[in-house]
């Protein structure tokens, strides 16, 4: 475990030694933003809207005490969505989609000697291949989280108003109840950290793949598993330290 953390740290350091020109990264970061961020919009849309809807219905189902105003349902949906579901749940989905894709892409490049081909030319392969993926993830994931927050709240709105649990006015007033801007900052901070963890851990797993197709599959699975563990640990630490 300590050895793996050490190798991971050295791997991160190696990306900043003998870097290529700035222009090289700009082009690659844009192309990675498309494959990492834009290609994840649909899955984030589906997950967020359904999670928001389910949270709305389940909260309404549990809030039966007559003295609590119904708008509190929307307040709870907002707080859960903002603080936990949008940044963390989306991160788990992101790890499954983007993390496994990064690990399998780099793993395949490694076993087919494409990484060696880059190294042998004197180009820093870790920096050239991995740094743009990490930067693109850290740029696009917070945007996806903002989008997920909005969709989650909209999902909750649809589910609670269409089923008659809340009126639209109750839902909107619940959303506006005791709003703290700090929670948005917290959600975005989490999203930056999760994006870094997912992309760097998945890249690490893929970059050091040895063997054949079987090992690429193992690297891809390890990337998702380790990213999820790292997300959950970071989630707890951030909540403990910052809330």
């Amino acid at each position: 475990m300590i050895r793996a953390v050490g190798r991971y740290t050295l791997f991160l350091k190696s990306m900043f030694v003998n870097r290529e020109s700035f222009a090289t990264y700009v082009k690659r970061v844009f192309s990675e933003c498309v494959s990492i961020g834009i290609d994840s919009i649909l899955i984030v849309f589906l997950v967020s809207i359904f999670i928001g809807a389910v949270t709305g219905i389940q909260t309404a189902y549990n809030m039966t005490y007559p003295l609590v105003p119904r708008s509190v349902v929307a307040f709870i949906v907002r707080e859960m969505d903002l603080l936990e579901l949008a940044p963390t749940f989306t991160a788990i989905v992101f790890a499954g989609k983007v993390g496994s894709s990064i690990a399998s892409e780099l793993g395949t490049m490694r076993i087919t000697e494409q990484v060696d081909a880059i190294d042998v030319m004197g180009v820093n392969s870790a920096s050239y291949l991995v740094l743009p993926k990490i930067l693109a993830s850290m740029i696009t994931y917070p945007v996806l989280v903002i989008y997920a927050i909005g969709l989650g709240l909209f999902g909750g709105y649809l589910a609670t108003t269409l089923t008659g649990e809340l009126t639209p006015v109750e839902y909107i007033s619940g959303l506006r109840l005791d709003f703290k801007m700090y929670n948005v900052f917290f959600a975005l901070l989490k999203s930056f950290i999760f994006a870094f963890l997912i992309s760097s851990i998945s890249s690490f797993m893929g970059y050091f793949t040895r063997g054949g197709a079987l090992e690429v599959g193992v690297a891809s699975t390890s990337a998702v598993t380790n990213s999820c563990i790292a997300i959950l640990c970071a989630d707890y630490l951030l909540a403990q330290l910052l809330l």
Binding site: E20, T24, T112, Q114, D116, A117, V120, M121, G122, V123
Partner: protein
């Protein structure tokens, strides 16, 4: 010229290269031969710096690559072209982008000049109309030719070929061999080819070293190899029935 001096390498407790020294001359096709698993590819990876040797060093035209600083290593690596077993073309790029990659990364050439150079190299390896093709659309031989074009596009001074004929039919093998030989002569490159294919050895090998179990057992030319006294080398050469038949025919005459 590339000099390998007393190079040794171990992986864990297993030593795979034992005190290997050799000289590889410019303008010649230098070959490292031996059976599978004898350390040929490890030796090549040590020479190009993909693996760090435990002992010994590699010198490129008087420049100590193994013990040099990062700047020197980077400079020498930019003069190296390498053809990998499977071609190692980048899956996400077209043939043109693949061949242009070293120029994009290592030079500040204007686009039209890069394109002209890429087209020249693609024509040189017989891939004139493959610019827009993806590697997945190419045959094994075409991938190797594409890999060859990428290896030499930046006026490489040193060309390394790892099993250039593996998985190819005899005709395509000869085509690739001839291409390597012609490029070496045309651009006066120091070429090192790792192979276990005796047809290649006889066809293009000028300076040959034979490795067995990580040790250099023999060194000479392809004219000397048939009469070499090394028992291990004889066993390796005449494991190929065609070479054995040729020798028998020669002896009968």
């Amino acid at each position: 010229m590339i000099e390998v001096n007393n190079l040794s390498k171990s992986f864990g407790r297993k030593q795979v290269l034992f005190d290997i020294s050799a000289r590889f001359m410019p303008g010649d096709v230098n070959m490292i031969i031996g059976a599978s698993g004898t350390g040929k590819s490890v030796l090549m990876k040590n020479i190009v710096g993909l693996v760090e040797p435990d002992e010994g060093n590699v010198v490129f035209d008087g420049r100590d690559f193994t013990n040099g600083d990062k700047q020197l290593k980077r400079q020498i690596r930019q003069e190296i072209g390498m053809l990998f077993q499977g071609g190692a073309l980048f899956d996400s790029q077209t043939v043109e982008q693949n061949v242009m990659f070293p120029l994009d990364m290592l030079t500040k050439m204007p686009m039209d000049e890069k394109l002209e150079r890429v087209n020249l190299m693609l024509a040189r390896v017989g891939l004139e109309n493959a610019n827009a093709k993806m590697p997945s659309e190419l045959s094994g031989g075409m991938k190797k030719r594409g890999g060859n074009a990428r290896a030499i596009v930046n006026n490489s001074r040193y060309l390394f070929c790892d099993e250039p004929n593996s998985g190819l039919d005899p005709q395509t093998s000869i085509l690739i061999d001839n291409l390597i030989s012609e490029i070496t002569e045309e651009f006066n490159i120091t070429t090192i080819v790792v192979s276990h294919d005796m047809n290649s050895v006889m066809n293009i090998g000028e300076n040959i070293i034979f490795i067995r179990e990580g040790k250099k057992l023999w060194e000479g030319t392809n004219k000397e190899i048939m009469s070499a006294s090394s028992k291990d080398l004889q066993e390796f050469i005449f494991a190929n029935s065609l070479v054995q038949a040729l020798k028998d025919k020669e002896e009968n005459q």
